[in-house]
Point group: C2
Chain length 406, copies 2
């Protein structure tokens, strides 16, 4: 008897009809003779509606209270799913993140899972129950409720799969897998049958929203194969795992984009030790997440330091950076909030020259100006004007089409 | 420094504006220098909406899951209220029923409070926090969430007040106190400044919805004065306590009514020991709450047994009673679901004759037929046709008006 962890996203449980549909899928898994643990997100737009309510009563809602508030969304969907299963004659029980033993640190709104104390889940499985766990949430050592931030339910599912020694972790969502590019943008984008953890990590980090990088990281760490598939179809989905064959790996695998990019440039910074720390430590303290950092070659010991943040963090970041820039004698502090980024990703790029050249050439042919470039071993990212991002994705998908054939 | 427990009902926190209004009232109590514990109900119609959702996914929702689902309503309002208070600069923290130590039995949907482990509440009060507790809910020894049924938040408030040794328990709602009759029905009904526990218990049990009998019972048991007042006005409300003066007690205090009455009559029952038990034990097992029971004087060892239930319980009760009636040789089993009841209540009735006569006379003058009569020491209740209940309340309020003057 194998153990399977399934996760269903918010659109998959957006209303009573869809909850019943998901219940039927879970029942089918149970009928195969497997033990089934299900992680569920909040129904549809519940989380956004709760945030809206919080903002109506408070200009800056307390993070501790906001986490308790948001955690109710997943409690609601988990109980409804358990009811629907019981209505079909299956033994099922819902557990909150706390009851399922998801222990986290106390970083409200972005808590990290410290460990999973799965005793209660195991006990309920042994009783023959399908166990429905409220995703996205955990509990601190002081018994206060936390939420895990973006991608939280994916992370809950993979963490539970790791702790329970599950055979498979299946993330069901509203798209039928991982594609070579966003299929809403590129109709000819193809679904990938499989992809390696690292490639998926880069794709997810650089804009593919189908699965959260934290979940992929955790999957890689514990070597849990993760299936990403649609809850609305019977299509096979994409398997993220460590055993993707060399041949398949030797390609550009996907193109990711992200429209949520703002840039800050500190111009004329003295190039001396400690300067970067003096800027980035206060930003970290203020909770601003930095994405790309680029420092130009220094001329006469004066350099420019450029970094990108989410658009919503730009104003806060500028408030932190401007006084520091002044105090270290920088010439000025500039920002641009109308940017996006486009990335090509594939382990095949690692030992094969020419990918960067072809990427830059393609963008140039389409008259798209590159503002920043960053690379990893298996990724090349260009930061460009936000209005040209979709053109860039289309052009690059065409240019690398051959490589993406399997 | 005194400790005050306040409770705010669902209409008082129905939207963001009202939550902020309630926050201002709580802040005013805190500003007086008191420690403040607040119990809050779910916003507006939240509970009904959640039940509706449950019924969409399941014909007969699991009681365990339904309790977890419903408990989210009070979690939401408690966090929003804490946020609103923090936004005003007050230290406040929300606690779930479980966190506040409301320990109950495991009778889902109608759990009884076994004890209150108030350590966490006391700790938060000592830190200077206003403590907002989600009402209507508790937790079993197995850490499963329960709800307390109708009037649950009132009960939470009085239980907390008792356990914390609070100086006062204030129940804020959408009416400004306890009246001589339902003011929506009888515009000339007067608010009572004070009322004794027993009178209030009878009034509440026999139809006055302003405060739940369980809460009154608990208040009497621990001698906690309970103020019932409006959260929308500064009116003084009604104080329920044990020290109401003899003079004030020597009156008919109020008229209660209830339209939710159905009657079952088992006709031609052999009058022998054990017959009542054979009917009422299975009904109790089936979870049917029996209200009034009347057994006529026996003629030739054959009697009629009549009892009343809530209208929603009638069909279920008939399914239980009909086969039993047959098996004990009763002649027939009849039911009537179109009934209501009207009661006059007051400790003054205890030693003063004539109240019953005047009540029956008044109903007779208005051509209202009495189907059943039951009395307690301080109450007379008549069960009548549901279409005549409001006429009866009006007529009785007029007839006993003099007695109700204070």
């Amino acid at each position: 008897m194998a153990l399977v962890v399934q996760k269903y996203g918010g659109t998959s449980v957006a209303n009573a009809e869809r909850i019943k549909n998901v219940a039927r899928r879970i029942a089918a898994a149970k009928d195969k003779g497997d033990q089934v643990v299900v992680v569920v997100s909040a129904m549809g737009d519940t989380t956004d509606e709760l945030i809206e309510l919080a903002c109506q009563v408070s200009k800056q809602p307390s993070e501790r209270e906001l986490d308790v508030l948001l955690s109710t969304g997943e409690i609601v969907s988990s109980t409804l799913l358990a009811m629907a299963l019981r209505d079909m004659g299956y033994d099922a029980i819902s557990l909150s993140g706390a009851q399922a033993g998801i222990r986290t640190d106390s970083a409200y709104s972005r808590a990290r899972i410290l460990k999973v104390e799965s005793k209660r889940v195991v006990k309920e499985l042994e009783k023959g129950n399908i166990v429905i766990v409220a995703g996205f949430q955990g509990i601190t050592g002081e018994m206060d409720i936390t939420t895990l931030g973006r991608g939280g339910s994916d992370t809950t599912a993979v963490a539970l799969a790791a702790s329970l020694g599950a055979e498979a972790c299946q993330l069901y969502t509203d798209v039928d897998g991982v594609h070579t590019a966003d299929p809403r943008l590129i109709p000819e984008a193809r679904r990938l049958d499989e992809i390696g953890y690292e490639e998926m990590l880069e794709l997810a980090t650089y804009g593919a929203k189908v699965v959260h990088p934290r979940a992929v990281e955790l999957g890689e760490l514990f070597n849990i194969p993760i299936l990403v598939a649609s809850s609305f179809t019977q299509n096979p989905g994409t398997l993220i795992h460590g055993g993707v064959s060399m041949e398949v790996r030797n390609k550009v695998r996907g193109i990711a984009y992200d429209l949520d990019v703002a840039k800050i440039t500190v111009v004329g910074v003295p190039d001396q030790p400690g300067i970067a720390a003096s800027i980035f430590q206060p930003l970290a303290k203020a909770g601003v997440s930095i994405d790309t950092i680029v420092q130009n070659a220094s001329i006469n010991n004066i350099t420019d330091l450029t970094f990108t943040v989410a658009k919503s963090d730009l104003a806060g970041a500028m408030r932190v950076v401007e006084p520091i820039a002044k105090s270290i004698g920088a010439r000025q502090c500039a920002s641009d909030s109308k940017l996006g980024k486009v990335s090509i990703i594939g382990t095949g790029m690692q030992n094969t020259p020419g990918f960067a050249a072809r990427m830059f050439g393609t963008l140039s042919q389409h008259n798209i100006n590159i503002q920043l470039i960053t690379t990893s071993e298996i990724r090349i990212t260009c930061i460009i004007d936000e209005t040209r991002v979709k053109d860039a994705v289309r052009a690059l998908h065409r240019a690398f089409e051959v490589e993406m054939e399997e």
